[in-house]
Each structure stands twice: as C-alpha cells, then as structure tokens.
C-alpha cells in the first residue's frame, strides 16, 4: 500500500525502497553512538595511557614505553593475577553447581509455579550490591549472626574466623552472581523436551547416565554462558575482596583500584585494566563461538 501511495502524496520525492539493512543501521545508531562515546573512546584512552611513563609526582610523562606491560609478569603482580583467577575460578565452579541444581529444580517444578520461583531466585539481585555484601559481614563477623547461632546451639569454644578469609570472598562472589547462573541454565533446561530423558531411560540408561549423556550435553551452552559471566565479573570485582577479604586478598580489581586512586600510577593501572579486558574479551569470544556453532548446526538442518 505504502509503496503505491507514497509517490502520489509526495510527488517531489522519488520513490525509494529502504533496504532492511539501512533501516536496522538507523535504529541501532543511538545505541552505537552511546557505546562509542562512553565505552570505545574511554577504553581507547585507557589503552593509550598504558604505553606512557609514570611522572615523578604521579602525573603522566608522554613518552612511549612497554614497561607497564612488562611489569605485569613480575612475580608479585603475576601472583595477584593467579590468586584472582583461582578465587574467580572457585566462585564460578561453586556458582555453576548450585545454580544448575537450582535451575534444574525450577524447570522440574509445575509449569505454573516456575515464574514465581524464578522471581524469588532473582529477588536478592534487586537490592544494592553494597548492602548485600555488608549483610555478609553481619553474618560472618566474629560475633556475628552465625557465631551467635552456634552459641545458642551450645557452642562454647572460640568464635570461628570466617570474615576476612578467601572463603568469605568466594561466598560473597557466589552469592552475588548466582542469579545469572540460574537464569542462564534455566533457559535450556526449560526448553528441553522431557521425552528425550524418557527415550534415554527407555533405551536402557539409568537416571544418572541419562543426565550425563543427554541432559547435561544439551544444556552446556547455558552453563558456559553463566560460567563466563561469573568468572568475568568475579576476576574484575574489587568491592567484595575489599569488604569481605579485609584487604588481605589482593585481586586484580583491587590492584587497579589502588594504582588509580592510591599509588597514582595511572599508566600501570591502565596496563592491568587492558590485560583484564583482553582476558574477558577472549572468554566472551570463545563462548560466543561455541554458542554460534550450536546455532549453526541447527540452521544447516533447516535447509536439509
């Protein structure tokens, strides 16, 4: 209709068919501008900063150097990096196990109850990150709620030291990022045709073998998405290690924070930031390739 009417209504305009490509570019423009101005440009500036020298009194000396990047492999900083990776890795592992089990239970619940269960799983996420983390201090404190609870049960000994440990940091990270894993794992689990599990049982597989050979492989993309999310957010996190680790556990995030705000070594902070971003991008790319591979197989099938 529009194609016929347009030339009559607007005779001065030559009829022109907008290709879907042009239209989608137009629609994306505001978001692209936003990302460019607030993400690409600042990242580029930080990246450039990494190649300059630190000035004598905390300023920046604009002479090219690779020293900042070389410094990262220094055993001191490499150690911090490995600690961060270990803590983030452990948090990811625990979050994936708990989150997958929770997602499995939600997907197995009666259909009409699933939205409510998902809502409850995500609920903590809507309170402030700092408040949620402070709540853990109240719980884990030497004379905190857990110790008081133990005392009520008749525990007499020394209060357990839970706060300011690696365990506390991992607990805080798992707690904060668990909803991501639950949501990411729930989607493929809910989509799974229950007859696939029945077919596996019918063909002679036990419940465990059915899980290992049918359910788990089909939900790996969800696990991967959730895991990358937790790992990437954990390794760069600086609030949780600062509050629950009590500064005893330096992670990459704390190190960057310190370079920019206390050590006043912006070029070195920029260099670590870039390494961290590179690791994150690498992991996200791997996960995207894996997801694309899965989707690609399906598309091929539609043609054949």
């Amino acid at each position: 209709m529009r194609g016929h009417l347009a030339p009559h209504r607007f005779p001065e305009k030559t009829p022109r068919v907008q290709s879907p490509n042009t239209r989608s570019t137009l629609l994306m423009a505001p978001a692209l501008l936003w990302l460019t101005a607030l993400m690409v440009v600042p990242c580029g500036l930080i990246f450039a900063l990494g190649f300059f020298r630190r000035g004598l009194y905390g300023g920046i000396e604009y002479t090219f150097t690779l020293e900042n990047f070389a410094l990262i492999v220094d055993p001191l900083y490499a150690g911090i990096f490995l600690t961060s990776a270990r803590i983030a890795g452990l948090a990811t592992l625990i979050a994936v196990i708990i989150g997958y089990a929770a997602a499995y239970a939600i997907a197995a619940a009666p259909r009409h109850r699933q939205p409510l269960l998902l809502f409850l799983a995500v609920l903590p996420f809507w309170s402030n990150y700092l408040i949620r983390t402070y709540a853990w201090i109240v719980l884990l404190n030497r004379e905190g709620l857990i110790t008081q609870g133990l005392r009520m049960l008749g525990y007499e000994g020394e209060p357990p030291s839970m706060l300011y440990t690696e365990g506390a940091v991992i607990t805080g990270l798992v707690y904060n990022y668990l909803p991501f894993v639950i949501l990411a794992c729930y989607a493929p689990l809910a989509r799974l045709n229950p007859e696939l599990a029945e077919a596996s049982r019918d063909l002679g597989a036990s419940a465990f073998t059915t899980f290992r050979r049918v359910i788990l492989p089909m939900t790996v993309p969800g696990i991967a998405a959730g895991a990358v999310f937790v790992f990437v957010l954990s390794i760069g996190n600086f609030i949780t290690p600062a509050l629950l680790g009590g500064g005893r556990f330096q992670m990459m995030g704390n190190l960057i924070y310190a370079q920019f705000l206390t050590a006043n070594d912006w070029p070195f902070g920029a260099a670590i930031s870039m390494v961290l971003i590179a690791i994150m991008m690498g992991l996200l790319t791997l996960q995207a390739i894996a997801a694309e591979k899965g989707a690609g197989e399906k598309r091929e099938g539609a043609d054949g």
Binding site: N193, E195, L196, E198, A199, S200, R201, D202, L203, G204, A205, S206, T209, R213, V214, P217, M218, E297, K298, E300, G301, A302, G304
Partner: protein, 327 residues
C-alpha cells in the same frame, strides 16, 4: 498358545480422572496390534504403562509370564517409539541408534555391526553421520524406528508412529511398517487415533473409549461386526436408521441406488453430492433418520445412472448388511 503380553484388569487414575479403567487384553507373540481410540480414550496412558513410565493403580501386566508392572523402563525388554521421535539432537544418526546398545554394554564390534545392519534395513546408511535436524520427517521417523528395533525388544510400542508424516508418505509407510514387522519378527503395538491406519496395518485392533475396551478383533470383524453403536460409528462411516423403535446400522457402500432387488427400500432427496474421484458420495434426506443418509457409489455405478442435487432417488439395502444395536 499363551499370550506374550497379558494386561489383566489394569487401572490408572490421575487425580479425579480415570484414564484406564479395569482393562484386560492378551497380545500374542509376533502380532501387529493396534490400540485405537480418540484422544482421552486412555490409549497413550496404557502405552506408557507398558513402557514403564506409569505404574498401574490396580491390575497387573505380564510379559512372558513375568509381572513387569513395577519394573522401571530401563529394565524392560520393551521399547517405545515416541510420537515426537525424541531423537537426541546432539548425537548423529549412528550415535542415536548405538545409544541403546551401549547401555547394554555390548562389545564395540557387536554394536557396530548391529547398527550397520539396522541402518541398511531402514535405508539410513548414507545419513549415518548426520544430526537429526539435518533429516527430513520421514528419515527422522526411520531413525526412531531403527533406534528401538536395534535393541531387539520382545515388544515394540509405537505411539502414533505415522502422525507427523504427510498423507502420501503415511500410506506408503503403513505397508512398510507391516513388512518390517514381518521381517524382524517382533511384536508391535501401535497406538493410533486413525481408524484407517489401524485397519490397514494391524492383525488385531482394540477400540478404547473412556479407558475401557469396547471391542477387540481383526480389522474385518470390527468393521463388519461392530460390537456396539460407538464402535460402529468410530470405525469407518456408518448410517443409523430408526425403524420401528430399533436402530439399524448400515455402511454407505451397502446402500444401493435404484436397486433391482432389495429387502428394504426408501425414497429420498439428494441434498449434497461430493465427487472423490474413486467414488461419488451422496447425502440423501429420508424420513428414516434426522441426518441425511450417506451413500457411496463406485465410479462405475455413478456413471450408469447420473444424479444431481435435488433429484428424488430410491435407496435399497439387504437385511444381511445391517446391524442392530439395543443401546
């Protein structure tokens, strides 16, 4: 001959709904058996009890003389071909077919040879390395069949096996399934709502309604000698004639137009005329029934005496071709 499968007074309730209600059936070795019923007749629940996905609330199911009512699905020599096929999307055709044999922990060489053999029989060999979503509907159906058959079950259950195929392929596959069942020598139980499919394929048909068995017999028996009004109406098309307080049933092909000789005749007016190629179907309004009678004429008979809508015609039939029901 003793029965291979003996269903003995089996009931299954879901909440307030009784899906299967005190049903008994014997199925013989090597039989091609059809469970026929509309949705809600309990046929799928019965099938799921045979496969082991549901446990009967009452009664027992014996296979080869052993009570299997409470044996889990992975420990029964019974396999089910799902209506959705339920092929594992992350495995190849070969992987799907081998899965059940791997669960039996057979030697690799035996698995490989049995998988190759069944893929040959079902003409799937060229697709061995493909994934299910790279197959056509007919090919997927054959993979589902091969995956169940390769286990050499005592009993193969098929839930609407041809439901997802288009009409032409379905007709071909009806005969194909029958041939395959004969070749492999495995007892088949097919669940279907399609009465024509049941008649074409099965050695015996059981008609289910509201979880009860209405009639069980050969296709010829259930078509020509329906046990009750529902069975008569459900299988094929049936005309019901009210005559002197009784209900007579007569098939459309047993009504003759302008008969030379007939036990009974009635006059009526043609209200509709549908040409099907193979036959001509007429709707004839008569005083004998509230609904017009359906008459099915072969192409030959239709050519001999052309009729059009609005014509007055004489219909005749023989008493031997009618059934009488008391309900």
């Amino acid at each position: 001959m003793t029965a291979l499968l003996s269903i003995d007074g089996v009931s299954k309730r879901f909440g307030a709904v009784t899906a299967v209600d005190g049903l008994s059936l014997d199925i013989m070795e090597n039989e091609f058996f059809a469970l026929l019923g509309a949705s809600g007749s309990g046929k799928t629940t019965l099938l799921r009890m045979l496969a082991g996905f549901e446990t009967p609330d009452a009664g027992a199911i014996h296979l080869d003389g052993a009570d299997i009512s409470r044996v889990p699905p992975n420990r029964r020599p019974v396999n089910l071909m799902f209506q959705s096929y339920a092929l594992f999307p992350h495995m190849t055709v070969e992987g799907n077919i081998a899965y059940g044999l791997e669960m039996e922990r057979l030697p690799r060489s035996e698995i490989a040879s049995r998988v190759a053999e069944i893929m040959e029989t079902t003409e799937l060999a060229p697709m061995a390395k493909r994934k299910p979503d790279q197959l056509s509907g007919g090919q997927r159906q054959r993979v589902a069949l091969a995956r169940a058959l390769v286990k050499r079950p005592r009993l193969l259950l098929l839930d609407e096996p041809l439901g997802a195929l288009d009409k032409k392929l379905r007709a071909a596959m009806q005969l194909e399934l029958k041939r395959l069942q004969h070749d492999v020598g495995i007892t088949f139980i097919v669940v279907t709502h399609d009465q024509e499919e049941a008649l074409v394929m099965a050695d015996r048909v059981a008609i289910l309604k509201d979880g009860r068995l209405l009639q069980c017999g050969t296709p010829h028996e259930v078509y020509e000698h329906p046990a009750n009004r529902f069975a008569a109406d459900f299988i094929g098309v049936m005309n019901f004639i009210e005559e002197g307080g009784r209900t007579l049933a007569v098939r459309p092909e047993r009504l003759h137009l302008f008969p030379d000789r007939a036990d009974r005749t009635v006059e009526g007016r043609v209200t509709a005329r549908a040409y099907h190629g193979l036959d001509l179907q007429l709707h004839v309004a008569t005083p004998l029934s509230p609904k017009p009678l359906l008459v099915r004429l072969t192409a030959n008979a239709a050519d001999r005496r052309p009729v059009s809508e609005g014509d007055t015609v004489t219909l005749g039939w023989n008493d031997a071709d009618t059934r009488q029901f008391n309900d």
